[in-house]
């Protein structure tokens, strides 16, 4: 039988939740890296035992951790005595060294002035689909880095910031590359999203990038209706069978594109509010998507205190609330952008974590939900591995 491994990043450590394919009885491991902010953990599709984790702290900065045994043990890549041996020597403790290429330059600041680019932390790590030693890191201030040596060293792909980076501006949570989507059918194509830079695509493996924001409307934040950059994209997702079809949860609005981002169309439809953070696709049904509507940009909790996942089986436009097993009164948590994921079982499992420390699982595509855990620190990220 398959095993499900849920990787949970929280404000005060990481947790690993495991269960068999029934997804009823869960084992909880953690906290790993207790007391540290764990923005994201993600396993390699090429080697599920290889897991990358972003560990950070306001005091001691950024750390990259790597497990080669499915999360049982962890190491900072390139920092062990064995790895530092050799006539030429390995890089000395450089797995947490994120240095912008060339002159770092400036971006737009809250008051409209220009502000120097400053590395703060890694928000998201996206392992290669084919090589366990290759991964991409989305960082704050917004940029994308790549490792080809298992996380020992990281090098920026500077072409992204040349896509009008001087006009990007931090959102309330900072200015970060928070979404990295790898095209499973075209290894040269990568999508990223930035708050508040917008959405971008490369078709040459990361050398050059172009904004893919046609059709996005942000009238209050961006009065220019033709603005290519500066949109506050909260999250994007795709189904691996159709990588040209993307779904987006923007600051306001839910959108889709059927041509790799060249044109977006709004599919908010009958949602009670189209503000929110995560969005994901059912693994078995490419037109079935999930969002968690949040009241507004001023009120980061569910409308009416009712935690509802909304599902569309039509690729957007028509939505139904999913409430069974979720609190329907007095609930004022948020669900952050990286805190929803799906598994790959025949009955697709949907998972999400809240800022109140709950991690919910639906083993039936969203029809009903159970809390795997209820009292973790605020959940920053949720990823799922389906181990066969």
């Amino acid at each position: 039988m398959s095993t499900i491994r849920v990787l949970v990043g929280t404000k005060k450590g990481a947790f690993i939740l495991t269960a068999d394919g029934k997804r009823k009885d869960w084992q909880v491991s953690g906290p790993h890296f207790a007391g540290w902010e764990m923005y994201h953990l993600k396993g390699s599709a090429a080697d599920p035992n290889r897991i990358y984790a972003s560990q950070s702290s306001g005091w001691f900065g950024q750390i990259i951790q790597r497990s080669d045994d499915g999360g049982k043990t962890w190491n900072t890549p390139g920092s062990s005595a064995e790895e530092l041996k050799g006539p030429e020597g390995m890089p000395k403790g450089e797995s947490n060294k994120f240095v912008y290429e060339g002159v770092a330059g400036t971006h737009k600041w809250y008051d409209g002035s220009q502000h120097p680019w400053e590395f703060k932390r890694v928000w998201h790590i996206e392992p290669s689909l084919t090589d366990p030693d290759t991964a991409y890191a989305g960082v704050e201030d917004a940029a994308i880095f790549k490792t080809a040596d298992g996380g020992k060293t990281w090098k920026e792909l500077p072409g992204l910031r040349k896509a009008k980076g001087n006009l990007w501006q931090p959102g309330a949570g900072g200015m970060a590359v928070h979404t990295i989507l790898l095209d499973p059918k075209n290894e040269k194509r990568i999508y990223v999203a930035i708050s508040a830079g917008g959405a971008f695509r490369t078709d040459d493996g990361g050398k050059t990038w172009k904004p893919i924001t046609r059709g996005l409307k942000s009238p209050y934040e961006l009065p220019d209706p033709d603005a290519e950059v500066g949109h506050c994209v909260h999250r994007m997702t795709l189904h691996p069978s159709r990588p040209d079809v993307l779904f987006m949860q923007k600051h306001w609005d839910v959108l889709r594109t059927d041509n790799a981002g060249d044109q977006w169309n709004e599919v908010s439809g009958d949602l009670p509010t189209d503000f929110g953070f995560p969005i994901d696709v059912n693994f078995n049904e490419p037109e079935t998507i999930y969002v968690v509507p949040i009241t507004s940009d001023s009120l980061h909790y569910p409308p009416e205190g009712k935690l509802r996942v909304y599902r569309s089986k039509t690729g957007g436009g028509e939505w139904e609330p999913l409430t069974k097993g979720l609190p329907q009164k007095d609930c004022y948590v948020n669900v952050l952008r990286d805190a929803m994921a799906v598994d790959q079982l025949d009955q697709c499992g949907i998972y999400f974590g809240t800022t109140g420390g709950q991690v919910y699982c639906s083993a039936n595509g969203g029809n009903s939900w159970n809390a795997i855990v209820r009292d973790l620190p605020a959940v920053y990220s949720v990823e799922v591995q389906t181990l066969r």
Binding site: W59, F60, G93, K97, V99
Partner: protein, 98 residues
């Protein structure tokens, strides 16, 4: 033998349970001590001071013999009591945040 006391999270990161001992011949500067500390525990590179500029991270402080050395130049000589191991060199996470 110089004794370095690390804060809780850096002890865990470096996987040490007590003081870190460094064998450095006098005279020893603050910078030389930090160089030796990072050489012994490469995982600490970037956590106490910036990789490139070697500037102290804003919420990290250095103390020795009840003196705050955080704002002193890294060429500052360590007190004899630290060099001969009678007093430790303290790396401290500043009180900030929640």
């Amino acid at each position: 033998m110089i004794r370095v006391v690390l804060p809780f999270h850096l002890r865990n990161l470096a996987r040490v349970s007590g003081d870190v001992e460094l064998d450095l011949a006098a005279p020893v500067t603050v910078g030389a001590l930090l160089d030796a500390l990072e050489a012994k525990h490469p995982v600490l590179c970037g956590t106490i001071r910036d990789h490139d500029t070697l500037k102290r991270r804003p919420f990290v402080r250095y103390f020795a013999c009840k003196e705050d050395l955080s704002l002193e130049p890294t060429e500052t000589m360590l007190p004899d009591e630290v060099v001969n191991g009678r007093e430790p060199f303290l790396v401290v996470g500043a009180m900030a945040g929640g």
